[in-house]
């Protein structure tokens, strides 16, 4: 070692490279001391061998550094603040030291073995592995170290500072700042300091000689090291945690923490630290994991640091959370270092995707590095910036903190701003994360924070212990990691198959089968199985397919009911979907998939390992509207903004007649075309919307708001004054209506608007409905948003697509549609003449009209909810019939002959709800020759054929089940040339399919459009064996379709065919209560005084409308009504509720229920018995509070159900619910509904009112007499 060169810090800093001076030394001087290298070697696999990880470059010659070790001071600018300093003659840097001794502070030491890492903030960081005193002769064996050096303190011995504490140092708090009054200048100063917890002996005097004679370290004592000089001891004392220490010269102070007084020893100028001594009893063994209760210690290698060191990956599924901003961590916590964490919370959390051990650091937690990392990895640097996100995270429980940090990693992948605005971008992502997390994390996962004193001194009582063990938050994943996960799964399965079929011909057989049917073999996973949420933007790729993009990757999306308000620039949350893997080998379909647990590592570190991809499998997502939400939907700022996108002005009204498929991928004989086309009918109506003042106030920043009044695009536009006059004169071509603008699910704006008929308007050029062709350039996502049969609004402007460059629209015009054009879907309803019960009947625009063609189109395009709905007076129906005639006229040349009738036949189930029962479909032939048809059915199989049908060369034959008949559709279908996700199991609507001469045989033409309505999961071992392909032809009937139309009553019929969420009104009686969720509306006691403090987020009633029994789900006021909570508590209930009936003035059922709900916070009642017979119900009641339900409470709740059964006849306006909606509700309310268990149709009750049976009977009679 004599030949070692002495390096200066300046030399190291100047080079600016990460180097190690360890290995070079160890070669020359073999030492028994364990080195970082040998330690990592001794545990192979402890640190995973990532190829990207590089060992620190060793110096090629032995080198030592000589300098002084010092406590931290203000002079060294280090973000971590409390780091050891190491200085030689001219430079000072941060350092960390192994085998620390207090004597080394202030002494000159020779660093024999070290790592140096350059850092951005200060010059660099030195890791001292092995060191020795330079001057051993002068080294006195000191046994006391004044916390404040003598030159500061006048040696006046204060009587108060006579206390000492000696014992085992249990824990240490981070340095925090306490504002206090300066005694001299009476200014407010921020005094840093930290607390230590010592298990001390009761003896008054510290006497080193008496140490091992009968001391019992049993008394819990807190010492507060106060003042900037004492606080600088923090890194040194952190190293002493777990060993014996003694402090003397302390004074006592009584501290009030949360109303309790606590005796704390506070350091003075005369305080002295006595270094650890080795007790005979004490044998410190650092076990890997040492758990005592919730807290414990953990020894392990750091496998990764994420989110600026807040998230530390320790072992497989073990994560350390360092979320509190105040922590002073050492820079040496790097990937690859072995760290010992003391007093950390062990939170074993069961997430929906798997179990994770979270090591939650609190104020008591201290971390020491046992071995430095041999890798060149970046140092942990505390960020001083306290963002709103970090504050938010601190207010959460550990599992929620962990989840939020994972979510933040996903948001990291979006780049909306240029990279030079890094901070701004990061703030935006933080804000997004916060808003998203706030909306998802249940209130129970928030925990109040008590500050450092409370949480350190009263650790057990301050709630630091109570942790939610189960967490139903779903994993948010980047798309690349998500797809990678499934790829790995497929590969594993393939190797499994290879292993199983060891004989080669068997494998080749199975693979050849795969080749043959590779376009049809799909494997589907439901989102429930994976419990993964994806976040991304919906965009259209260059190939014309709709995709979900995040920065890591993109995935094809099949979204049949894409809302027009899905905006490509906004982030969507996709939670309910199926992942479809197309092209999986046939043999794989029948193998049970190994469900690999999802690793959080892949979320925070989304660079997937390159895997050998032997399969060409296409991944796509199938999702519905309900499952795809803008994540900022509920943000108050956002909805206002959203609302104001629909500004006042004039709007074109058009209806989509047909969509032409995107022909980019080539139909034979067709030139490649980049644009997509939609056939639309421009209606001779214009919507004029005047915005209310309230709305205008909400949008002060929209400049167009003022200018739009002045720039009048055309002569035919009227000024407001003219409008008023015309309205006053009640000119028949002007219909004033009530307009409801839907912004987000919970926000609607109702305003007045006027529909103006352009036919009557002499100045306009358009007198009747015109059929036009809308051209969409590939970037335009509006193409996907528009649905056949839907009506839409487009802003009337000087340069809108319908007006620019033309004086008027004529038939068959081709109109270019610009991508920025905003469109709104619109639906019409008519205000019927008020009947006796005062109800308003809502009709779809065309259903009551005689045009079957339109009727059919309307039915087949589910419009779940429109952006704008117009309520027109009932007499406007007559005016609309004129428009409908127009539509018919325009449609005539297209659908020649008996086409309309045929359409009606094909959709028998849909027809039932609208057409008269006397119309019997011709049974001999389903479709006639040569006509275009439109029908809906389930795709049963897609077979490869090589034949020519009607001179159209076909390569595929699609077998579709339409009304229990197999229909064959031939066509040159190419993969993805229609829609993502097409294949067996898809329910699709085929538009404009050419009928051939033969029965049930059709040909897809280049104008045919296929819309996928839904996809059924076709996976699982229950699928037919591959040899029984014929079995595929068996109709697969979903639950919803399996409603026998003839047997069931009118309600059932309507529901099964009614997929576009029309409301159905029916009078029904409650048979039983299936599910009831009750909870308090607010925790504020003052609000509890008001009547309606019970929230019913979900209730399911089994109801009978006289013809069928179904499950009616509802919530809030409606459930409140059906439960008859507003009614007076009946006499017979008094004996069960006597105990609460103290105040006779509050006799309503709601009042008494409220008492119970207030105690139990949330009550879930579920009937497990017979759905129909109320008397034999097996009712289970679950409460959230830890109090038991008393017998009388139980009785009362059961009485509540009986009471609602005895209720009157209700008139309920319902809309149909599909499985998705039910599942969504289940998830939202965390209840299992098991709706599939009983064959009841589920509907959602939108409105409930009590029926006066007499009034209803009279109106029924009237209806019967009139018919």
């Amino acid at each position: 070692m004599e030949n070692a060169t002495i390096l200066t810090i300046a030399e190291l800093v100047h080079k600016g490279r990460a180097v190690t001076g360890a290995s070079s030394l160890f070669i020359s001087a073999a030492t028994a001391t364990p080195t970082p290298h040998s330690s990592s070697d001794s545990r192979p696999g402890a640190v995973d061998s990532d190829s990207s990880r590089k060992f620190l470059t060793p110096l090629n010659h032995p080198a030592v550094i000589v300098g002084t070790l010092a406590l931290p001071s203000e002079t060294l600018k280090c973000p971590n603040r409390y780091c050891f300093r190491f200085s030689d003659c001219d430079l000072t840097i941060c350092c960390d030291i192994l085998t620390f001794e207090i004597r080394a502070i202030g002494s000159k030491i020779c660093v024999l073995s070290w790592n140096f890492l350059p850092m951005k903030h200060c010059c660099g960081f030195l890791e001292i592995i092995k060191w020795k005193f330079v001057d051993t002769d002068n080294l006195v064996s000191r046994c006391s170290f004044p916390l404040i050096p003598c030159l500061y303190s006048p040696q006046n011995v204060d009587r108060k500072s006579r206390y000492s504490v000696c014992g085992v140092l249990e824990s240490i708090s981070p340095v925090s700042v306490v504002p206090c009054q300066d005694g001299v200048s009476s200014d407010s100063v921020n005094l840093p300091g930290f607390l230590v917890h010592v298990m001390a002996c009761e003896c008054k005097e510290y006497n080193r000689d008496a140490i091992d004679c009968g001391h019992a370290f049993e008394k819990s004592v807190f010492v507060y090291l106060c003042g900037s000089v004492a606080a600088s001891w923090h890194p040194a004392i952190t190293k002493l945690v777990g060993s014996n220490v003694a402090f003397s010269g302390l004074k006592r102070k009584l501290v009030y923490v949360r109303g309790d007084s606590l005796l704390v020893f506070v350091t003075t100028e005369n305080s002295v630290l006595h270094p650890p001594w080795l007790s005979k009893k004490q044998t410190v063994l650092k076990a890997g994991v040492d758990r005592r209760g919730n807290c414990g210690s953990y020894l392990g290698f750091v496998r990764g640091l994420y989110r600026r060191g807040k998230l530390v990956e320790m072992d497989e599924d073990v994560w350390l959370l360092l979320t509190d901003q105040i922590h002073n961590r050492s820079h040496s916590i790097r990937t690859g270092s072995l760290i010992f964490i003391r007093n950390v919370h062990f939170v074993n959390t069961k997430f929906s995707w798997g179990e994770v051990l979270i090591l939650g650091a609190c104020f008591k937690t201290s971390i020491t590095v046992e071995f430095f990392s041999p890798f060149e990895t970046s140092c942990l640097v505390d960020s001083c910036r306290q963002t709103s996100l970090s504050r938010f995270i601190e207010s959460l429980s550990f599992p929620a903190r962990f989840w939020t940090l994972l979510v933040r990693s996903c948001f990291q992948k979006f780049d909306g701003m240029p990279s030079d605005k890094e901070i701004l971008r990061s703030c935006q992502k933080d804000e997004l994360t916060k808003i998203y997390a706030e909306s998802r994390i249940p209130p129970s996962m928030f925990q109040p924070r008590g500050g450092i004193f409370t949480e350190f001194c009263m650790h057990e009582s301050c709630g630091c212990n109570s942790e939610a063990r189960d967490c139903n938050l779903k994993l948010v994943m980047p798309i690349s990691s998500f797809v990678h996960h499934f790829k790995v799964m497929l590969n594993e399965l393939l190797s499994q198959i290879k292993k199983d079929f060891s004989s080669s011909d068997c494998l080749s057989d199975s693979l050849s089968t795969w080749k043959r049917y590779n376009h049809t073999n799909t494997k589907t996973f439901r989102s429930e199985d994976t419990s993964v949420i994806l976040l991304g933007r919906l965009k259209i790729s260059s190939s014309g397919r709709l995709q979900l993009h995040d920065r890591t990757s993109s995935i094809d999306v099949l979204a049949p009911d894409l809302l027009s308000d899905i905006n490509a620039s906004r982030i969507c949350e996709v939670s309910d979907y199926s992942i479809i893997m197309e092209g999986t080998p046939e043999s794989m379909l029948h193998m049970p998939f190994l469900q690999n647990p999802l690793r959080c590592r892949s979320v925070v570190n989304p660079t997937p390992l390159a895997i050998e991809n032997t399969l060409t499998v296409c991944f796509s997502l199938s999702l519905g509207t309900a499952s795809c939400k803008h994540i900022l939907e509920h943000h108050p700022l956002d909805w206002r903004h959203d609302l104001n996108e629909f500004k006042e002005g004039m709007f074109h009204l058009f209806m989509v007649n047909h969509k032409f498929p995107i022909l980019k991928n080539g139909h034979p004989g067709m030139p490649d075309c980049t644009s997509a086309f939609i056939e639309a009918l421009v209606l001779p109506w214009e919507l004029i919307c005047t915005v209310t003042e309230e709305d205008a106030a909400a949008a002060p920043y929209f400049e167009e708001h003022d200018t739009s009044q002045e720039i009048r695009p055309h002569k035919r536009c009227k000024t407001n004054n003219e409008l008023e006059r015309q309205r006053a004169l009640s000119v028949p071509h002007e219909i004033s209506c009530q307009m409801t603008i839907r912004c987000a699910s919970s926000h609607c704006l109702v305003t007045a608007a006027t529909l103006s008929n352009l036919r009557e308007n002499k100045s306009g050029n358009m007198h009747s409905t015109k059929r036009v062709l809308l051209e969409f350039i590939p970037e335009c996502s509006n193409y996907y948003a528009l649905q056949i049969g839907g009506c839409y609004l487009m802003k009337h402007d000087t340069d809108d697509s319908f007006c620019v460059g033309r004086s008027g629209i004529s038939n068959n015009d081709k109109i270019g549609f610009r991508p920025e054009t905003r469109i709104w879907s619109v639906e019409f309803s008519f205000d019927e003449v008020l009947t006796h019960d005062g109800s308003v009947d809502v009709y779809p625009l065309v259903s009551s009209q005689p045009s079957l063609a339109v009727e059919q189109e309307n039915v087949s395009s589910p419009q779940p909810c429109s952006d704008v709905s117009l309520l027109l007076p009932s007499d406007a129906k007559g005016l609309f019939s004129v428009f409908l005639k127009d539509v018919e006229e325009v449609n005539k040349p297209l659908a020649a002959g008996k086409d309309n009738n045929n359409i009606a036949c094909c959709t028998q189930s849909e027809k039932i709800m609208h057409a008269e029962p006397s119309r019997v479909p011709p049974s001999n032939s389903l479709f006639p020759e040569g006509n275009l048809a439109t029908f809906r059915g389930d795709v049963v199989a897609v077979d490869a054929v090589t034949s020519s049908v009607d001179d159209v060369s076909s390569s595929y034959c699609i077998n579709v089940l339409v009304n229990h008949q197999i229909v064959k559709i031939f066509g040159p279908l190419r993969r993805h040339s229609y829609l993502t996700g097409f294949g067996p199991g898809a329910s699709a609507t085929f538009y404009r399919i050419l009928g051939t001469g033969e029965e049930n045989r059709f040909v897809l033409t280049s104008a045919s459009f296929v819309k996928i309505n839904s996809r059924k999961a076709l996976d699982g071992p229950q699928l037919e064996k591959p040899t029984h392909r014929a079995a595929m032809c068996l109709p697969k009937i979903t639950h919803q379709e399996y409603v026998p139309c003839i047997l069931a009553g009118p309600a059932c019929n309507s529901f099964s065919g009614n997929k576009d969420n029309q409301q159905i009104k029916s009078a029904c009686k409650v048979l039983s209560v299936y599910l009831l969720v009750l909870q308090t509306r607010s925790d504020d006691l003052s609000e509890n005084e008001c009547r309606n403090n019970i929230d019913i987020p979900l209730a399911g009633f089994v109801v009978d409308d006289g013809s069928s029994i179904y499950l009616c789900w509802t919530s809030g006021e409606r459930a409140y009504t059906i439960l008859r909570l507003h009614e007076e508590l009946p006499e017979e209930a008094i004996d069960v509720a006597k105990w609460i009936r103290r105040d006779s003035s509050r006799g309503t059922t709601a009042y008494h229920l409220e008492q119970i709900v207030r105690v139990h916070k949330r009550i879930v009642m579920k009937c497990n018995g017979s759905q129909i017979d109320a008397l034999f119900q097996d009712i289970t009641i679950a409460v959230t509070s830890d109090q038991l339900l008393t017998k009388s409470e139980d009785k009362f709740l059961k009485w509540l159900i009986l009471n609602s059964i005895g209720g009157p006849i209700w008139e309920v306006a319902t809309s149909s619910m599909d499985m998705k909606m039910i599942e969504h509700l289940e998830r939202e309310q965390c209840v299992e509904m098991e709706t599939s268990r009983h064959n009841l149709q589920s509907v959602w009750g939108n409105e409930v009112c009590q029926v006066d049976p007499l009034v209803r009977a009279w109106s029924l009679l009237q209806g019967l007499l009139n018919s």
Partner: protein, 127 residues
């Protein structure tokens, strides 16, 4: 006299029950609805009245119905013609209180029901 089979009670209004009508026959099963005008506990015979016409009801077979003059009741039973003065009395099989019924609506309903049954009969005959 005793019928082997109990016929369903045909709903009628009291106005229709005049001696010339089809229903005014011995042993016809009827369903009548009207207001109770008087009731004799000794004989268990009540008198119901609707639209100026009244009918005697023999209620001795009926249990658990409390009779209150002024309330509206519905009875199903067989008509018995007492020969000397050709007076009708309904031997009630069952009865119930139907207070709150809208008699106008009820009359119209009966008409509709008959109309429906007639159509139904016709279609059955065609087959």
């Amino acid at each position: 006299m005793a019928k082997s089979q109990i016929e369903p009670g045909v709903p009628i209004t009291l106005q229709e029950l005049d001696p010339s009508s089809l229903f005014y026959k011995e042993g016809v099963s009827l369903r009548v609805t009207a207001m109770l005008r008087g009731y004799s506990v000794e004989t268990a015979v009540g008198v119901i009245e609707d639209g100026g016409r009244s009918l005697k009801i023999n209620t001795h077979n009926i249990r658990d119905v409390s009779f209150r003059v002024g309330s509206i009741y519905q009875f199903i039973g067989e008509l018995h013609i007492e020969q000397p003065n050709n007076e009708a009395i309904l031997q009630a099989r069952t009865g119930r209180n139907v207070d709150g019924i809208d008699m106008n609506l009820y009359r119209k309903t009966i008409e509709l029901l008959r109309q429906f049954l007639k159509e139904e009969d016709n279609s059955n005959m065609v087959e």
